[in-house]
C-alpha cells in the first residue's frame, strides 16, 4: 500500500461493511506479492571482484568512492553500507578458504523499516522492492533501529535535507525501462547474482542443491528469515560465517509491535471509565463524610437547643412557681394582715 492511502481506505471500510463483504479474515497468513522479483546470490560463485559495487554506483549516480572499485585491498577490512554505498562485498575467512558475500537491502516481504516508519515513507512494491520516499521523511532514524540487517543509512553530514540511503533494487530504473535487471546483477561476471521471480529463484536454488551435491548447505537464507526476503542467499559455509545472522527467527517484524499497538485502544476505552468511576467513588465518599459531619452537627445543635429549651422551661417554671408563690405569699400576707386588722378591730370594739 502506498503512503497516505490509509485514510482513503477507511472510506472503503464503510463501503465494504455496507456491501457485506468481509474485508479480511482474522488469522490470515500473508505470503507477500505473488509475482514479486528478487535476486539469488550464490556465495560459491562470487569471486569478490567488486564489479557489482561499481555497477550499482554507476546506475545510481553515487559519488565516487575514496578508493577505486578495482582496488581489492578494501576487502581486507569489514565494510558496511553507508550513505554513498548501497552495496558492499566482504571477504570472510572460512574453513573452505575465503568466501565473499555481497550485502545490500534484503527487501523483506514484511519490511521492519516500513512497519516502523511513522510517516509511512517506506513502501513494499508489488515488484518486490522496498522503496523510500524523500518527500515525507522526517529523519528520525527509527527505521535504522528497526532493521535487523542494519541496512538503511543516513546522511549525517547533510544539515538541512539528510536522506535515508539504501538499495531500492533499482526499482525506479526498472519501472522507467532504463534497466532490465538491477545494476549489480548486470555487472556480475560470474552469474553469482540472478534476478528473477522470487518463486523461480527458490526453485532454482533447490535445483542447484540437487545438481551439485556437497557444494551447498541445504538452506536458502531469506526464504523464511524475518518472514522472508526478496533477496536470497545460498552458500557452502554456514551463513553466520559470512556475516548473516542466523538468530533472527522467522517472525515478520510488524508482528513484534502489533500486539502492543493493539493494547492501545483498550487504554483509550477503559481508562476514562475506570478513572471516572474512581472519581465518583471518591466524590461519594467525600459527600458522605460531609453529610455525616453536617448531620452530626445538626444533631448536636438540636440536642443543645433542646437542652437549652428544657433548661429555660425549668427556669421559667421555677420563675412562674416563684412568682406564684410570691403572689400567694403576698395574698396570704395580705389576708393575714386583713384578718389581723379585723381581729384588732373586733378587739377594739
Amino acid at each position: 500500500m502506498q503512503r497516505r492511502q490509509f485514510l482513503g481506505l477507511l472510506g472503503a471500510t464503510a463501503a465494504t461493511a455496507v456491501l457485506g463483504k468481509a474485508a479480511q479474515a482474522g488469522p490470515k497468513h500473508f505470503t507477500g506479492y505473488p509475482d514479486s522479483f528478487g535476486v539469488l546470490f550464490d556465495a560459491t560463485r562470487c569471486i569478490g571482484c567488486r564489479r557489482c559495487e561499481a555497477g550499482c554506483n554507476r546506475v545510481n549516480h553515487l559519488p565516487a568512492p575514496p578508493r577505486p572499485f578495482d582496488d581489492l585491498s578494501v576487502l581486507d577490512t569489514r565494510r558496511r553500507t553507508d550513505a554513498r554505498t548501497f552495496t558492499v562485498v566482504n571477504r570472510y575467512p572460512t574453513a573452505r578458504g575465503p568466501v565473499y558475500r555481497k550485502n545490500q537491502c534484503q527487501h523483506c516481504l514484511e519490511p521492519a523499516c516500513a512497519s516502523s516508519c511513522f510517516v509511512a515513507a517506506y513502501a513494499k512494491t508489488p515488484q518486490g522492492a522496498v522503496i523510500w520516499d524523500e518527500k515525507v521523511c522526517v529523519g528520525c532514524r527509527y527505521c535504522m533501529i528497526a532493521c535487523p540487517f542494519d541496512i538503511p543509512t543516513f546522511e549525517y553530514a547533510n544539515p538541512w535535507s539528510p536522506k535515508i540511503m539504501k538499495c531500492h533494487l533499482c526499482h525506479p530504473h526498472l519501472t522507467a525501462g532504463k534497466l532490465r535487471v538491477p545494476g549489480c546483477v548486470g555487472a556480475c561476471p560470474t552469474e553469482a547474482l540472478v534476478y528473477g521471480r522470487r518463486a523461480d529463484l527458490i526453485r532454482e536454488a533447490r535445483q542447484r542443491f540437487h545438481l551439485f551435491p556437497g557444494r551447498y548447505l541445504d538452506h536458502i537464507y531469506g526464504e523464511h528469515e524475518m518472514g522472508g526476503t526478496n533477496w536470497l542467499y545460498i552458500s557452502g559455509v554456514p551463513f553466520s560465517q559470512i556475516g548473516l545472522r542466523e538468530d533472527l527467527g522467522v517472525t515478520p517484524a510488524p508482528e513484534f509491535t502489533s500486539g502492543a499497538l493493539a493494547a492501545v485502544p483498550i487504554i483509550a476505552a477503559a481508562w476514562p471509565a475506570l478513572l471516572l468511576g474512581i472519581y465518583a467513588i471518591s466524590q461519594a465518599k467525600d459527600k458522605a463524610a460531609r453529610q455525616e459531619k453536617r448531620e452530626a452537627l445538626t444533631e448536636a445543635l438540636a440536642r443543645a437547643q433542646a437542652k437549652c429549651e428544657a433548661e429555660l422551661a425549668k427556669v421559667k417554671a421555677k420563675a412562674e412557681a416563684d412568682k406564684k408563690a410570691a403572689i400567694e405569699r403576698e395574698v396570704k400576707k395580705a389576708l393575714e394582715e386583713a384578718a389581723k386588722a379585723q381581729a384588732a378591730k373586733e378587739e377594739g370594739e
Partner: protein, 415 residues
C-alpha cells in the same frame, strides 16, 4: 539565587544581582549551547554527534527523550492523585508538578528538533502522512496531544498571574476532563516508549528485551513521577522557599510521606514484574554474565533498595530517608532507560562499533536541561505555583480566614 533578597519587585532583584555564580554558570552553558546549535544546523549531525549508521540513536534519545518523558511523569501522577483519587491533601503539589511536566515535555520536543534530520517536518506524522503501523506514530501523537493538555492544565497559573479571572475559571472547570485525558495519554505514550524497542529483538540484550517492555516503562514512569515530585520539592524548598505560602509549606511533608508510600508500592510491583519478565523468556542464565551484573545492579540497587528505603522512611516518618530513596529511584529510571536504549542496545556489535556520545552531544543535553531550569525559575518566581493567588483560593473554606491573614509576600502578587 537572585530571589533570596527580594526587594519590592523581582525585576529589580535580577538586575541587582546579575553576576551571581548561578547566572555566570547558566549563562556560559546557554552560550555554548547556542554555538552548538549553530554547528548542528550548519555541519549536520555529523558535525556535533558520534552517531553512525550502526548507532542511529544516541544520548539525545536516551536522555532527552526517554528520561525526559519518564521524569516528567510527575504531572499525570500528581494531578490524578489529587483530582481523580480525591487525595485533596496533595493539592499544593499539583501546580509545581504540572509546570515541571509541561516544561519537561516542551523541552523533549525542543530537543527532538536537534535530533531529527528535518525538524520542520515533525508535524508530518500527525497532519500530513500518518504511519499508524509505527509505535513511534503512537508516541508522537500522544506526546503532541499531551503537550497541549499540559499547556491547558498550566494556563490557570498564567491567567491568575495576568488577572484574567473569567478565562481562568473556564479553564479550572475543565480540570477533571483534562486530568483524565492526561492520564490516558500518559499511559499510552509512556508504555509506547518501551514498545519502541519491541521491533528490534535481535539488537536489544535478552535481559532487557521483553514483551513486557511497554508495561515496564509505564509502571516505572509512575515511580519516576512520584519520586521526581519529592526530589524537586526538596530542591525547590531549598531555593524557592520565599515563594511558598503557608498552605504549601504545611502540606509539604505530608505530600512527601504520601508519595513515598505510593512509590514504595509501585517499585515493589515493578520489581516482581521484572522477575516475571525474566521467567517468561527464561533468560535467568544471562544474570551470570557481565550484562547480568548490570541488570542486577539496576534491579537490586535502583529498584529493590529504594523500595525498601521508601518503606523504612514511611514507617519511621523519616523524610530524609524518603528523599534519598527518591534520588535513587530517579537515578534508577535514568539507568534503565540508558540500558534499554544504549548500554544493552546493539550489544551484538563489536566494542569498536559501539556508541559513545561526543562532548558536544552531552553539552547540548545539559544546555536543554539548563533552559528548562531557567524557565521553571522564571515562572515559579512570578506566577502562583508554590503559593495560592489571594484572589483564587482553593483551600478548604474553613481554613480560609486564617490563610488570608498569613500569606507570606503580598507584594509579589501584583504582577
Amino acid at each position: 539565587m537572585s530571589g533570596e533578597h527580594a526587594p519590592s519587585t523581582p525585576v529589580a532583584a535580577d538586575k541587582a544581582s546579575l553576576l551571581t555564580p548561578f547566572n555566570i554558570v547558566t549563562g556560559l552553558i546557554v552560550f555554548v549551547g547556542l554555538i552548538l546549535t549553530l554547528l548542528r544546523f550548519t555541519k549536520g549531525l555529523a558535525g556535533v554527534t558520534n552517531l553512525s549508521d550502526n548507532n542511529p540513536w544516541g544520548i539525545w534519545i536516551s536522555f532527552d527523550l526517554l528520561c525526559g518523558v519518564a521524569l516528567a511523569a510527575g504531572g499525570y501522577t500528581t494531578s490524578a492523585a489529587c483530582y481523580v483519587f480525591g487525595l485533596k491533601r496533595y493539592h499544593s503539589a499539583v501546580r509545581p508538578a504540572i509546570l515541571t511536566a509541561f516544561l519537561g515535555y516542551a523541552l523533549v520536543v525542543f530537543a527532538l528538533h536537534y535530533d531529527v534530520g528535518r525538524p520542520w517536518r515533525l508535524p508530518y506524522p500527525i497532519f500530513y502522512s500518518p504511519g499508524p503501523t509505527s509505535v513511534l506514530f503512537e508516541v508522537g501523537l500522544c506526546v503532541f496531544l499531551y503537550l497541549n493538555v499540559l499547556f491547558l492544565e498550566w494556563t490557570p497559573s498564567a491567567l491568575e498571574w495576568l488577572g484574567l479571572k473569567k478565562w481562568r475559571n473556564v479553564m479550572v472547570k475543565m480540570t477533571l476532563a483534562l486530568t483524565i485525558f492526561g492520564v490516558v495519554l500518559s499511559t499510552m505514550h509512556q508504555s509506547s516508549l518501551g514498545a519502541l524497542f519491541l521491533i528490534a529483538p535481535s539488537k536489544l540484550h535478552p535481559l532487557w528485551y521483553s514483551s513486557y517492555l511497554p508495561v515496564f516503562f509505564f509502571i516505572s514512569s509512575i515511580a519516576a513521577g512520584l519520586s521526581m515530585v519529592i526530589f524537586e520539592g526538596t530542591l525547590s524548598h531549598r531555593y524557592l522557599h520565599d515563594k511558598m505560602d503557608e498552605h504549601y509549606l504545611s502540606a509539604h511533608d505530608q505530600v512527601h510521606l504520601g508519595f513515598g508510600r505510593g512509590a514504595a508500592v509501585v517499585l515493589v510491583i515493578y520489581f516482581f514484574l521484572k522477575l516475571v519478565g525474566l521467567a517468561l523468556d527464561n533468560t535467568w542464565h544471562y544474570l551470570l554474565t557481565g550484562y547480568g551484573a548490570m541488570y542486577s545492579l539496576e534491579l537490586l540497587g535502583f529498584v529493590a533498595l529504594p523500595a525498601l528505603l521508601y518503606a523504612v522512611g514511611v514507617r519511621e516518618k523519616n523524610l530524609k530517608i524518603i528523599r534519598w530513596a527518591a534520588v535513587l529511584t530517579v537515578l534508577g529510571i535514568v539507568l534503565n532507560r540508558f540500558n534499554v536504549s544504549w548500554f544493552a542496545f546493539n550489544w551484538q556489535l563489536p566494542a569498536a562499533e559501539r556508541y559513545f556520545p561526543s562532548w558536544m552531544e552531552v553539552a547540548v543535553s545539559i544546555y536543554i536541561v539548563t533552559v528548562g531550569l531557567l524557565l521553571f525559575r522564571f515562572i515559579a518566581t512570578r506566577m502562583p505555583i508554590f503559593h495560592e493567588h489571594p484572589d483564587f483560593k482553593e483551600a478548604e473554606p474553613e481554613e480560609e480566614p486564617h490563610a488570608h491573614e498569613t500569606r507570606p509576600h503580598p507584594q509579589s502578587f501584583g504582577h
